[in-house]
Amino acid sequence: MNQNPIWKYLVLVLIVVPAFLYALPNVYGEDPGIQIAGVRGAEVTQSTLSLVTNLVRDAGMEPVATSLDNTGIRLRFADTSEQLKARELITSNLGAGYTVALGLMPAMPDWLANLGAVPMYLGLDLRGGVHFLMQVDIPSAQERAKASYVDDIRTLLREENIRHRGVRLQADGSILIKFRDIGTRDLGYDQIVRNYIELSGVPNDEAEFPELLLTVSEARLKEVGDFALQQNITALRSRIDELGVSEPVIQRQGADRIVVQLPGVQDTARAKDILGRTATLEVMLVDEDNDISSSIRSVAPAGSKIYRFRDGQPILLKKQMIYSGENIIDAGSGFNNLTGGAIVNLTLDSKGSAINRRITGENIGNRMAILYVENQREAKLDAAGNSVLDEQGNEIFIAKRIEEVITAPVIRDQLGKRFQISGLESNAEAQDLALLLRAGSLATPVFIIEERTVGPSLGKENIEKGFKSVVGGLIAVLIFMTLYYRVFGLVACTALTLNLVIIVAVLSLFQATLTLPGVAGMVLTVGMAVDANVLIFERIREELRAISGPQVSIHRGYEQAFSTIIDANVTTLIAALVLFNFGTGPIKGFAITLSIGILTSMVTAIFVTRILVNLIYGKRRVENLAI
């Protein structure tokens, strides 16, 4: 009785050794580093690495370590001033095509890295950074899709020579077409369902003119929404790459939300500005045939619309868009030496350049307008200027489209793939516009509905606080257990400490995010994990009181407490899993560490303590147990 078979030692070693190994990287901390990645086809290679390393060395700095893998180049530095200097140097010498991001990199030795050991992945509340939850305006993307069906149907009916008395989008989202007679209606109906299987129609003969009511299928609308969301994620990702953030997280959450996490970013103002902007350009021709002043007085001629310059001056443009930001594949800001203003240099894709060549060739001497388009959200106001509320008392928001003509130069020559636009207010504006055009526009507006930003120094403070409370709690429990249960207490303490090491190892291995509430989960585990030992030890004491021998008491104590421990832990686990399921960000971290802690504590408190107790008391005659 109470002896350890060999396999138990083997299992123990298989638990303890990996636990310490994988927990070890956390001891080394992190160094400031630089991460270089290629964008838009540029690749980082061994030669880039040696180029960069030489650059840094020539400036008298020595990177602590360098590495190259498929995610890019990493350089580690001894301090942040070297890191910042090196970034300046690399950014200015490497040129476009690469992103150079600052980050913190694990400072552990290579042999650990080769084992695949990594430090815990710290949440933003511990490392500092920005967390955004963005609401994607799916309904407006769907509205636009419906509106484009209206255009498509008009075109289709025209091409098929089917006369109609109007196609319009109704307020409820359905499309109503009026026909002259039932014959043409049926013809039209036939054509429409043949071309657009996603539309379903209901004919109506009761009205003055035969009607056809079309609705877009739910499946198609969902597809539109998913597509808009996916495109937004792509656009956000490339914008973030432009910002130069290492290890960003951009994830879909549910049907209409995107989570963006930017570790280490301090300047949330710029991040917010760049992420939320929907700015793009549209290029149109100026309507030179009609008079602007008469259009203002009465109504703009068909096919044209009045737009305004930034200073409010009106201009009449032909509504047909020539091409838009989507056709722009590259953009860079610059400076016009002649006029002294900021400019943006644009490069068009093949479709855009073909159109550009044709239109500018046909319109030499006419003007071409560059329209700046941005979707914003603003509160809906009533006539008195107060915000309008919905049933829940929340403000109602409406999407607002800003359209400003940046410039409308006369076309002097045929343009092609590359051209530049001027008329921008400042150099900063030119830079931002170029960035947004490069990264691609958002398919539909996004709005930040939650932001949690933690500065890096506060993150460091939080780590310290978390560390202190874990150590404080651990020491208090260790002292208490040793005083109360003596030798058995020491055994429990060993198991408890091992449990903490295992939790850290598991968190590191699975790269589960450790947040400040996650640390609280760890602290709580320290307090609750000894429960299993308390249950066992109290049982042993009971057995001793019932005058069972020491060996029998140990045996029965462990045996009888077992099912209680399982029951008690499973119920706690249920609560933790519910918490995980419901939790957002930091709270999820709490649920994770608590769940891991519960599971690992069962191993350490039952299995490991038994081995130790057997080692101390097994195989010999014992008069008294120090319990």
Binding site: K272, V477, P517, G527, V530, T572, L579
Partner: protein
């Protein structure tokens, strides 16, 4: 060391009326406070903006208030946070504070008195830099933390949180029903609702802010309190099997007394770590640890004075817990050692 060196014989079941009265009083005052005053809901649930700033040198809070009032954010709550250099500003949701850009405008406004303007940077380390009268310097006003919760999102979080509580209770009900018996399940859920109500009542009566971490703590309290209750229930079940002569009352009373040392001890170790968390964990975790401290006290009390007496009052008997196919009394007797 042993606090209780032999098995106690406290007549808990005879005291159950006292426990019931005490609990009814506590629950009644909790509910009336919750109805009358409600909970002081934190930013997570109401929506709004919270900005934590650190000034390079100590700052007068009335100056900060005045600066904010001048730009029209007069309804902000401004308070020191730790030292005279750390300032926390909370702004409720209103017309122009509904968007995430508001925090940026707020910090800009607070930098105006120092005639400094924040510079764009995406640096990882070091302090934020500002341009001050043409030159670059470390900003006097350092942005430490921003929390912004939009209007619909806050309500959604509360909704999700409350439904999580319901899910946890439901899951537990089913597990206990499956492992024990419906009377035990019902008794444990009664005890848990008791714990949650009184903890919520505490937050309402003392006007402590109810935030997302506090909600998480409530779920952890459910887990903890249940843990305690299950240990006693387990012992009750065991005693029904081993103490054939004892009455139901004796069986339950004995189980509570046998597990009493463990109940006290585990509460002590949990309390030790919670105190460590409360004192070292900082402001973010203070609400969490406070809720847990209250919850652990109430939870420990309820598993002794509410859950087990409730099982008794619901009329549990030996037959309910023995294997269902062995309903013949004589066969049962032979099973015992």
């Amino acid at each position: 060391m042993q606090i209780l060196n032999k098995e106690t014989q406290i007549p808990f079941l005879s005291w159950r009326l006292i426990g019931a009265i005490l609990s009814v009083v506590l629950i009644a005052s909790s509910i009336s406070s919750l109805m009358a005053r409600g909970l002081l809901l934190g930013l997570d649930f109401t929506g709004g903006t919270l900005v934590e700033l650190q000034y390079q040198s100590s700052v007068d809070i009335s100056d900060v208030r005045q600066t904010l009032a001048e730009v029209g954010y007069g309804d902000s709550v401004v308070q020191y946070f730790g030292t005279a250099r750390d300032v926390m500003v909370r702004v409720p949701l209103s017309g122009e504070t509904q968007d995430a850009e508001f925090s940026t405008r707020l910090v800009e406004a607070l930098r105006v008195p120092f005639s400094e303007v924040g510079l764009s940077s995406t640096g990882v380390t070091g302090k934020q830099q500002c341009s001050v009268e043409g030159s670059i310097a470390i900003c006097e006003v350092q942005l430490q933390r921003v929390e912004f919760v939009g209007p619909q999102f806050g309500a959604e979080l509360l909704d999700k949180g409350l439904s999580a509580l319901m899910w946890a209770l439901g899951g537990i009900l089913i597990y206990v029903m499956f492992r024990f018996e419906w009377r035990f399940a019902l008794a444990s859920v009664i005890a848990l609702i008791h714990d949650v109500l009184i903890t919520l009542g505490f937050f309402s009566i003392f006007g402590v802010e109810f935030s997302l971490p506090v909600l998480a703590a409530l779920l952890a309290v459910i887990g903890y309190s249940l843990n305690d209750t299950i240990v006693v229930f387990d012992r009750i079940r065991e005693n029904f099997r081993t103490l054939m002569e004892a009455s139901t009352e004796q069986v339950i009373e004995r189980a509570i007394n046998q597990t009493l040392p463990r109940t006290i001890l585990t509460s002590v170790t949990t309390m030790l770590v919670l105190l460590s968390l409360y004192f070292y964990g900082g402001e973010v975790l203070a609400g969490f640890s406070l809720a847990m401290i209250i919850g652990v006290i109430i939870g420990t009390y309820s598993s002794v004075f509410i859950a087990s007496p409730a099982v008794y009052s619901l009329g549990v008997s030996r037959e309910d817990l023995l294997p269902p196919d062995k309903d013949d009394k004589t066969v049962e007797g032979e099973l015992l050692p």
